[in-house]
């Protein structure tokens, strides 16, 4: 089974700071997705990364994909409180099922 690991699992950061969340996966895949989940809510799609070297940016979030290293990063720039949520990466397996990472719970402190 494809394994997807994220680190850190928990992240507490001050407003205005930068940080990066890492997503490693165990087997070859050229499709990686990032989702956001607010407490008690569903998962919302943030980014779709479809090739090696892909980079997507939306507001204070930027995601990148290195398929050779089997690594994706989600970089947060100048964090604000509204970014507090749990972030999941997901990798597509051979059968088109999406395998989700362990999640990173982000808390941005004013």
């Amino acid at each position: 089974e494809l394994k997807v690991e994220q680190n850190p699992l928990f992240l507490s950061m001050q407003e205005g700071k930068n940080y990066t969340i890492y997503c490693n996966y165990s087997t070859t895949s050229d499709r990686l997705y990032w989702y956001r989940q607010d407490p008690g809510k569903s998962l919302e799609s943030l980014f779709v990364l479809l090739s090696n070297g892909a980079v997507k940016q939306e507001g204070r979030l930027m995601a990148s994909l290195d398929t050779k290293a089997r690594l994706s990063t989600l970089h947060i720039t100048a964090a604000v409180h509204d970014l507090s949520a749990t972030y999941f990466c997901a990798v597509v397996g051979a059968g088109n099922q999406f395998y989700f990472g362990t999640g990173t719970s982000l808390t941005v402190i004013p």
């Binding site: 809510k41 569903s42 998962l43 479809l50 999941f88 997901a90 088109n96 099922q97 999406f98 999640g103």
Partner: protein, 114 residues
Amino acid sequence: EPEVTQTPSHQVTQMGQEVILRCVPISNHLYFYWYRQILGQKVEFLVSFYNNEISEKSEIFDDQFSVERPDGSNFTLKIRSTKLEDSAMYFCASRPGRTDGELFFGEGSRLTVL
């Protein structure tokens, strides 16, 4: 904007009872999924469904679980005899036919087994 809808939003049941969770995927999507999330934990794949049959299932999806697409719109997950450990949030998701499409999730059905 089209969305995936799920019912019920919350169901409480006794251990051993049958439960059916319902989902209406986005109308032009071709792939359908069920995931579950135990409180505060990771999102676990249960089953994927394409062309009116199961395409993949996980180890969690044992004989107690089944899925159906009884008509052109609904997609159901049935748990025949619920156990305490089935308590979780169950998410239905769908995606378009193209290979790069992302999953669109419903709001989830919270199942509590007593």
